[in-house]
Symmetry: C2
Subunit: 110 residues, 2 copies
């Protein structure tokens, strides 16, 4: 496996009624991210404690590879079902079904 | 590599003056955790943004393996330098140099 030096974590807070849909979206994900140069692996983490955030963790060879992914057409393609859910809620005047917060990290020890 | 089904994340907030020491402790870690059955791998993640938490991420074959680690003698042995730093600060009436918050997760997609 290639070296994993950079990690991006997307912290997701889902409304309770959206959790099943959220898990289904990732369970049937488009695997667009897997096509990106410098991508190593990812995990979707469901909290064991009610109320904690889900974590989408992606491992990259370097920060540049991650930045290319965020700006890529594949990123839009890979997220289109989730983004459409968000847009529909907004159009209907509802609260967003999930909120996300991206944080990034360097791997300094293993 | 064995299957990684369970993840523990320790969110660490360090006082600025303790960061170097904290990184050194993990850079020279005792590798006690590596001896535990069911342990797969770990990473120490330094936030790219000032003020965000460090993440200690450990990957396990299952939750039981993680629980055995927490209760083990190896856990005490592996953390003794950090635990001593905390005890010294307390004994001197100072604020703890770091705060930690353990959260655990199931891997539901890759």
């Amino acid at each position: 496996m290639p070296e994993k030096n950079f990690v991006a974590v997307n912290y997701i807070d889902c409304k309770p009624e959206y959790r099943q849909r959220f898990e289904e979206l990732f369970g049937s994900r488009a695997k667009q991210i897997d096509t990106m140069p410098g991508f190593v692996e990812m995990q979707v983490l469901r909290p064991t404690k009610e109320g904690d955030s889900y974590l989408i963790v992606s491992h990259w060879q370097d920060e540049e590879s991650f930045k290319r992914w965020i700006k890529s057409e594949a990123f839009s393609e890979g997220h289109k079902r989730g983004f459409a859910d968000m847009a529909r809620a907004k159009a209907e005047g509802e609260e967003a079904p999930m909120k996300s917060d991206f944080k990034t990290y360097e791997v300094i020890a293993r």
